[in-house]
Structures are given as C-alpha cells and as structure tokens.
Amino acid sequence: MEQTSRHGFPAFVKDVIVWNVTGGFGLQLYRLLLILGMGVGIYAYSFQARYGLSVTGMGDIVSWGLYISNFTFLVGVAAAAVMLILPAYIFHDPDFHRVVIIGEGVAVGALVMCLSFIMVDLGGPLQAWHLIPGIGQFNFPSSILAWDVVVLNGYLLLNGLVPLYILYNHYHGRKADERKYRPFVFLSIFWAFSIHMVTAFLYQGLPARPFWNNPLMGPRFLASAFAAGPALITLALAIIHHVTGYAIDRKIFQKLRLIIVVSAIINLIMLFSEIFKEFYFRTHHSISAAYLFFGLDGHNSLVPWIWTSIMGNIIATLILAFNPGKDNPKVLLPASGLLFIAIWMEKGIGLIVPGLIPSPLGEIVDYLPTWVELCVTLGVFSLGLTVVTWLIRAALIIEDKYEKSSQ
C-alpha cells in the first residue's frame, strides 16, 4: 500500500474505504458475518415498522426492555474510553498513547449503538426530528432525556473529530498540533463523566420508581463502566495484537488490569451497599429489588439472571485482583470477558426491567424479549462492530505508517 503519497481529504476518505473493503479471507468472512447480522436486524425491524412495538415483549407495565437496557450499558462502554484518554493525553503515558485511538474507536462504535438503540425503541422514529432544536421543540433543561440527547451527540462529535484531526495529519505525514486538539481532549474527559451521570439521572430522577430513585445510581454507573469498558478494550487489544501487525505492549494490559480491578471493587462495594439498604429493613420501596433477587408471587424470571451475573462479577473481580496467572493472557482475557458479560447482564436487563416491576399500582408481570427484539439487537451490535472495525483498521494502518516514516 503506497498511497501515503496522496494528499487531500478525498484521497483520505478513499483510502479509508479501500482499506475497509480489502483484506484477507478471514477479514472478509468476518465482514460478511457482520453484514448478515445487520441484514437480520433490518428484517426483524421491518416487522416493528409495520406492526409497531406490539411485536416486542414490552407492554404498558414493562415499557422499556432489551433496547433501553443495552443502551444504558453501552453508554458506559462509551464513557470508559476516558480511562485511556486520561493517562494518554494528560499524564503523557507513552504506552497509552499508542492505544488511545483504539479506545476512541470503541467509544464511537458504542455511541452509534446507543443512538441506534434509542431509534429502534421509539414508537415514532419518523418524528425524531421533533427533538432537533430550532425545527422541533426541545424540552431543555427540564427533561433529562433532552440532556442525554445533547451529551451523547456531543460526546460522539468529540470522540469522532479529535481522532479524525490527528489521523488526518498523520495520514499526510505531519505531526498533529497538540495545542489545537488539547482543549477538546480536556473537554471530552469531562464530557465522558457527564454522559454517564446524565444517563444515570434519567432513571435516578424518577420518584415514581423507588428502585431507580437512588443517589448511588450515578456513581455506580461510573464504577461499573470503568470496569466493563476497559475489560472490553483489553479484549479488543488482544484481538488486534493477534490478528494485525500492530504490536501491543504487555505493560498496557497490566495497567488496564489495575484500572479494571479498582473499578470492579468499588462497583461491588456499592452493589453490597444497595443490597443492604433494600433488605436490612424491607420497606414498600424494596419490592422491585425483592422481585429481582428473589421473585414475587411466582414471578421470578430475573432471579437466575441476576445471580449468574453477581457470581460472574465476583469471580472475575477476584481473578483480576489476585492475578493467579501473573498476567498470563490465558487467565486475564477470559476473566475480562466474564466481567464484561456479568456487568452487561446486571447493568442492562438487571437494572432496567425490575425498575418497572411491579407497576406503580402493584401489578407484577414478567418480561421476555421476542425474536424481533433479539434480532434487532443483533443487528445493532453488528452495526456497532462494523463501525469499530472500520475506524480501528483505518487508524492502525495510518498510525503504523506514520510511526515507520517518523523513525
């Protein structure tokens, strides 16, 4: 690939596209699978477009389900990029500087998934323009959902434009001017915290739902995100290390492990604090937690789900904390994967669904996603993975060449 001699934005865009449609057999197969996943999602969504959300498992009592659960969790994954940005740009950690672009790629992919999950959850997606200030009616600052629209799109912009600026310069063999992008990096650090706090406030601000109306919600969102996000990035880095020529230093995995362990332990402490509050002296407000952990009146579909998640959480945290493999990837990677899945289970379905059960009038129903919801979710995940793959592949090729040319 000799294209580095080319100049200008059209050449940059063209090269990014070329890199992302060419590649070996494995890469093409992987792309085919992603396209297949998106196709399944579009097919399933066509049912939703025709028959409305009645083809989902949701109803007037459990009015948010799998989509909003995944949205909530993925906001955390997006926010977690800050755990790479902070050491890389602020503390000038050279190890993190090499991988920060990957973290930003993951963040952009996660945000695309977040916004897609919101779109597929809307009853009137064609009316979404009513949200755009100027042509629509934006209920800001009263509605926390309006805040969320602002912070999510702002974070997407920040995490898209800063890497774009750096990569565009490196593509042309120039050094990116740090004075120009540094203020935006600072902004994006504060912004990362804000997307997560605001998303937590979405739930925390509802006195109608005692399970959510809890001041620990925001901080716990952050702790679980800073565990799950770096866990995912660990896995992504391991994959990149194995399938591309872009070598990742071992030290990065060690540092990431530390970040994960600290966050996971804080997360578990807060979880314990919540469980204590709900069950030491049971009140009327503990009823959703009782449904989640023990079931109510024979309705117990979430009980095995949440206990699996908690067990996974504890086991993964212990493994990562005591590090029995001495940073052996064969121990580290499965533990990171387990932690990621456990937090996804707990902070997705395990957080959203029980908040709505029982209804404010005390009625208990169980929620099970339908095949439409599962397939649309698969489609959105495929879309997110596609975005991440595109961004990271382009970034790594540019960075690799830039490193070689500047040596």
């Binding site: 028959y51 959300l53 083809v55 009853g123 064609l126 006195p207 109608a208 005390g362």
Partner: protein, 322 residues
C-alpha cells in the same frame, strides 16, 4: 415469541367493520358511489382512485410537517383539523368532528372519588372505553378499579383483576386514572414538550408531536399513561365521532395517550363520561375555582386524601369517605 398472525392484518385496518353490518355498509357505499357518480357527471370528470390517493398523500405530507399544537395559530389549528377530518373520510369513510376548543376562563377541573359508595360495577370503565375510542384489541382502559380489603388504602394491595359479581361483602372499591397533577412528573420528563398541563388543569398529549419514547410512562407514579403498541382498532360503528384534537381522536400507532377528563365533553360544559355513567354517584367532577361547585363542597365537608401525597405531585384527584 410473537409472530404477526393473520388477524393482525385485519387489525391493521384502523377501523374494522363488523360482519353483521356489512350489508348496511354495502348499501351505504352504494349510495355514496351513486352520489359520487352524479357529482362527476355534473363536473364532467370521473373520480379516479389515483386522484384520491394523491390527495391522501398530499394531506399526509402536510400533516407530517405540521407544528406543535401549542405553536399553531387558530387558523393553522383549523387547517390541521380539516386535514385530519378529510383523511378519516378517505381512509375509513368516517365523518368526524374534531374540535380545538380552548380552555374555559376561570376553570380548574378537579375530581373526587367516593370510596364508600363505589360498588365496583365498572360502568365507568365501559363508558370511558366507548367515549374515548380506546383500543379494543389490547383492551386499553384509562380507569382501573381495584377491589380492596378493609384496612388498606393503597390500590397496589388490592385486586385489579377481579371478575365476579359485585359488590362483595366486606370489600370496597377504589378506582384510579390519570390524576392530572399540578406538579406532573410526566410533563417534566417529555423531551419534546409533547405533553403539558392546560390552563384548566388537564394534562394532555399532542399525539402527532409525541415521538413514542415512553419516558413519561416511566415517570408517572400512578400508572396513568397508556401506549399504542400497535395500531388501535375500534369497530367502525362504535367510533365516537365527536372528538377533540387533544382528546379522544383516534391515536396513531406508537404514541402515548391518557385520560383527558374527557376534554371533548368537559370543555363543552358536560361531565366526563365516567361521572355520567356511574350508577352509584361515587364520582364528583367540577370547577375548583367555583366556590358553589359540588367538588368544593366535597373538599370542604368530607374527609379527603390523595394517593402518594409524599411525592409532592399535587394531583387534582381526591378520594373521600362518606
């Protein structure tokens, strides 16, 4: 797993004429066709299907880009109502009268419910379903009636699914609906200002402005809101044609709806359908600003309470005991 079944397709038609009525509809259709033919003879052109679907498309196009109800001038309100009425005519042959009647001066609506008198007949529910064009397929109802054991006052401890002869000895009945809170959590939550509290105290939804995110439903502490998960279906002959833009007009799919104190009736000076239907006189409705109203009498002379007073939502709906 929910598979869209065949009968879903039938339900996709917003208005489904029932079988026993088809002959009458046929004759009616025939007379309309005859009228249309004679009209076309007069004007010298044949009514073709294309022109009609073109008109429908033009109307829907204009409807799609219309403004938020509260930002419309009176003329714009009249225009959208004309479009909606024409669309209903084209799509289902219904002659609707959609009102945009503004709130009355010096009126603040309030509601009181007598838990001593109510015997759980659910006449109010039936009247509400009919009056407000609620979806028959999913059996949507704004009003829920709970059968309660003595010693309890929270509907969440009662039975909302009772199905037996009423009244039952040693039980009492408590109904819920939207309480039209003064400090409503739902209106605060809406990201597009598609739901708000009118000057007469009625919390309404602009169905065409709602994006269907359901945040208001999560925010409501009283389970006062209902979502149109599919397209609502109402037998054609049962459609209430006297409608209000913010009230009982047939909701589009994917939008939120709720009790509006029968805005289409109350703004005309009538009582809500539930109040009129109640055989025991348990329901009291009126103007809180009128010192001589029945609702003011109840608030002054009876022992009243409200649900979840601790949340500070300030509902305009009181329960009372004789």
């Amino acid at each position: 797993m929910i598979k869209p079944k065949k009968d879903d397709e039938a339900a996709e038609l917003e208005i489904s004429p029932s079988a026993h009525n088809s002959r009458r509809n046929f004759l009616k259709g025939l007379s309309i066709a005859a009228a249309a033919c004679s009209a076309s003879l007069v004007t010298g052109c044949l009514p073709d299907v294309k022109a009609e679907s073109g008109e429908k498309f033009a109307l829907q196009w204009k409807e799609y880009f219309k403004k938020h109800y509260r930002l419309m001038t009176q003329q714009e309100k009249e225009e959208t109502v004309a479009r909606l009425e024409r669309l209903a005519k084209l799509q289902s042959g219904l002659d609707l009268q959609i009102s945009t009647r503004a709130p009355r001066e010096n009126v603040l609506y309030g509601y009181a419910f007598n838990i001593t008198r109510c015997e759980g007949f659910m006449e109010c529910v039936a009247a509400c379903v009919k009056e407000n064009n609620l979806d028959r397929k999913t059996k949507t109802q704004y009003i829920r009636v709970f059968e309660m054991k003595p010693g309890q006052l929270d509907p969440s401890t009662g039975d909302g699914k009772y199905f037996h002869e009423v009244p039952v000895d040693n039980k009492f009945y408590m109904a819920t609906q939207c309480f039209h809170c003064e400090n409503a959590p739902c209106t605060k939550a809406c990201p597009t200002k598609a739901t708000w509290r009118e000057p007469d105290g009625i919390v309404v939804v602009d169905y065409d402005w709602c994006i269907g995110c359901r945040y208001c439903q999560a925010a409501c502490p009283y389970f006062g809101r209902r979502f149109n998960w599919g397209k609502p279906s109402i037998p054609k002959e049962e459609v209430n044609r006297k409608q209000h833009y913010l009230g009982n007009r047939i909701r589009p799919m994917g939008k939120m709806e709720k009790c509006t104190f029968c805005i289409q009736r109350t703004r005309e000076g009538k009582l809500p359908a539930c109040v009129e239907a109640c055989p025991t006189g348990s329901r009291v409705f009126g103007n809180l600003l009128d010192p001589d109203s029945e609702i003011r009498f109840v608030l002054k002379n009876k022992k009243v309470f409200r649900m979840k007073e601790d949340l500070g939502t300030d509902p305009k709906f009181w329960y009372f005991i004789d």
